[in-house]
Symmetry: C2
Subunit: 190 residues, 2 copies
């Protein structure tokens, strides 16, 4: 998506450890007009796929999930990262490794939020090694539901998590795929 | 807001410790149509107030902030709860006490996301004692900006945080105010 790539080039900051900071327009501060254009683009890509629910993981996936769900006219669900006092009853869970924070964490969704008949679109802000996506897909499987595919704001193509998932047969649509960011220079996949 | 009150009565669950669980339509699972109706109602309440930015705190405030910001045609900002490796540079912060989790935490916003000329609408999912709202308002003050008011999905009126803030002169608009929830019976303020 051209408008997103241009914005990443203009405002994204490359930090040590291949961290791309887009907090000024896609994370802690959100350009809501751009976000809803991105949601509409995902709705176009997954039109006629029967998507009945959008699934993401807190916290940075929530804004994108809301914009996508709004464009598709369906509800959104987000997995929580820890069992809090506000989650009760039977839950579906998966373990995810965070390379950013160097830790493992559980992602949790109450069982009755994903029904066996649901066709789920998984969305997230970043895709690097694909751990979060795999965890979310395993939750969909455990619910007996179907993963239609995934929609990602920004994929780090050089970390190959997206390609590995595509080889396994998952449809993964990323609005921007960064092929390399060496020496702070961003190059996108065509 | 009638539709919200009706939904709370229909699906909300009262747990021990005056916890109201609305996870099936306003938190982990989001009824996106209702959420955007709520965003439109907030935009109506704060029309012609010159709001230039919507501010909330992660994670459960993000969805509402996005819906409100979309309805008002402005950008959204969310405070993070801990200094993570993705936040760099100068930040504004405030300490907040969580009665739900029984802990203190810092909320953090990069300095350049709130400008002195900003007129900020603070939004959140719940208002009980008002600690999160006060923390967010102190961040707006520290940025030299103006808090126009607050918009809340559900206020627990019996915990009086909202009334205390109104007495101090803050405009606080809550889409539903629960006056009591004794024995699991919900009563709303008129």
């Amino acid at each position: 998506m051209k408008a997103l790539e241009e914005r990443i080039v203009k405002e994204g900051k490359v930090l040590p450890g291949n961290v791309l900071k887009v907090g000024s327009f896609l994370n802690q501060q959100i350009d809501v007009a751009l976000l809803f254009d991105m949601g509409a683009e995902v709705a176009r890509l997954y039109a006629n796929c029967g998507v009945s629910k959008v699934l993401t993981v807190e916290a940075s996936g929530i804004a994108f999930a809301v914009a996508v769900a709004h464009a598709m006219g369906v509800d959104a669900v987000f997995a929580k990262k820890n069992k809090s006092s506000n989650v009760s009853g039977d839950v579906l869970s998966a373990k995810v490794h965070s390379y950013t924070h160097g830790t493992d964490f559980d992602i949790i969704v109450p069982k009755d939020y994903i029904k066996p008949e649901d066709k789920v679109l998984i969305v997230d802000d970043f895709l690097a090694n694909g751990c979060a996506l795999e965890g979310l897909a395993s939750i969909v499987s455990a619910a007996g539901a179907t993963t239609v595919g995934a929609a990602i704001e920004i994929e780090k193509g050089f970390q190959h998590g997206g390609d590995a998932l595509r080889e396994k047969g998952m449809r993964v649509e990323s609005l921007a795929i960064i092929e390399s960011m060496e020496n702070g220079v961003l190059r996108f996949r065509n």
